[in-house]
Amino acid sequence: MADDASPGNQSDRFDRLPATATDRTVDGRPTRAELLAWWDERFGIEPGVFAEHTFWERGDGKIWVCRGDLETPVGIEALGMLAVRTRQEHWKPTLEAIQRFGDDATRNRIELATPEAAVFLAGADQELPWDGDWGYLIVTHEVAGEPEPLGVGLYVYDELRSMVPKGRRREL
């Protein structure tokens, strides 16, 4: 196990996630296996969806997803997209990752009517019924005849809290 003084997470470079815990050299770094299991358990997004993608950490608990296979580490500005924050107990996907990969989700997705989706997009919280687990949900609404993932909500105490980042909020 690496100690606190190890090179560990660095904010100026991307380190590829280890495949499994036995490959781990940086203490606390999530593994690819853990990440794939989390997508599957939380949202029903199967590991095959990410077969062509690699996962990388830059900074503490910021996990990026990249289509492709570069040599690790990579000292650049961005690599694919920021996909998941793993620093807290409950891992949180980004709006962008949900819009890109959330189509394949079968669990913990809540479909909103378009007026409710507009409230969510504006960044507001709203009381809504939900039978499932509390926690982060994929919020979808219908666009051009099919449900389409819009972003991430946090469901607690009968309320859907909008996790839409300020820069993505919009009044439609």
Binding site: V65, I76, E77, G80, M81, Q99, V143, A144, L150
Partner: protein
């Protein structure tokens, strides 16, 4: 429009040219095929009663007849990206194949980067370089909003682009959509004419030459490099090509462009250019009711 007067000898219809430069620019969006299909995007716009017409030459480009690009659901979902019509030309001319490695040398704010990523079907790799951190922030916002995962962003001067983070191989193709004097964007931003100086033209031409030379060097033999600008200045267009044809192993390739245009010019202010620069294409605002643009395609020969 004093600056534009210097281009009168190059323009086929001066009156139509000035008329077009005075009109505001139609609002155009590109369908992001990483997240949706052209057909779904059409249905989504129709469902919101947003009037549009598909451009004749590119089925992924829609002219919005009344609206702004950002105020609708398909935009929020990253299905649409506001992109001027001629700005969609160079990625089409580069014409990448899925799985290829592409360098976008002057990438921010990312309209062409994300278009290239979509043409690759979000496979392969687009290395997107810019030297301005503020503009890179806009680039990142656009790549993430559009769901692009095959992009690697570097902050550096294109002229000294390092292949060190990407040790696998040279690029299959490169795009140099160079910083320029931007008179071609006058319909969107009339201030460009007030800020125009000949000193800037000369300074930026040196940057353009350096970036294009680096692109030819970093691309494999048999690969393709596209050079484009939104200026009418031959100093920044044909003269740059003429310089790089001399300095690096490459030649100008013909390409089809289903938009009205004229050929590159071989003489300007007493200077003669390699006749091959006629293979480049100039688009003036009155040709297709767009901004102005310049585009050339180079084959790397060594």
């Amino acid at each position: 429009m004093n600056v534009l007067e210097r281009y009168e000898p190059l323009v086929d219809d001066v009156e139509a040219f000035y008329d077009a430069c005075r009109r505001s620019l139609p609002s155009v969006v590109r369908v992001n095929t990483i997240k949706t299909t052209v057909e779904r995007a059409k249905r989504a716009l129709a469902a919101e009663d947003i009037a549009f017409e598909v451009t004749e030459w590119n089925p992924t480009l829609f002219r919005l007849l009344d609206d702004q690009p950002g105020a609708n659901w398909p935009y929020v979902h990253g299905w649409l990206h506001g992109q001027e019509e001629v700005s969609a030309v160079p990625a089409r001319v580069l014409d990448p194949d899925p799985g290829e490695r592409i360098w976008d040398a002057c990438a921010a704010p990312g309209s062409k980067t994300t278009q290239l990523a979509a043409l690759l079907g979000d496979t392969g790799l687009v290395v997107a370089t810019d030297n301005n951190l503020g503009r890179i922030s806009a680039l990142r916002s656009n790549t993430e909003r559009l769901g692009v995962t095959n992009v690697a962003v570097t902050a550096e001067d294109a002229r000294t682009h390092s292949l060190k983070p990407f040790p696998q191989a040279e690029y299959d193709r490169a795009l140099v959509d160079a910083p320029c004097s931007c008179e071609g964007t006058v319909r969107k931003n009339p201030d460009v004419l007030e800020d125009w100086t000949v000193e800037h033209v000369e300074g930026i031409a040196s940057v353009q030459k350096g970036a294009l030379r680096r692109a030819v060097q970093a691309t494999r033999e048999g690969g393709t490099v596209v050079y484009s600008t939104c200026t009418f200045a031959p100093e920044e267009n044909e003269a740059v090509l003429d310089h790089v044809l001399d300095a690096e192993p490459c030649r100008i390739e013909p390409f089809d462009l289903p938009l009205e245009h004229t050929s590159g010019v071989t003489a300007w202010h007493g200077k003669q250019f390699d006749p091959a620069v006629q293979g480049a294409k100039r688009i003036y605002p009155h040709h297709n009711d767009t901004g102005g643009f310049f585009c050339a395609r180079l084959a790397v020969t060594g």
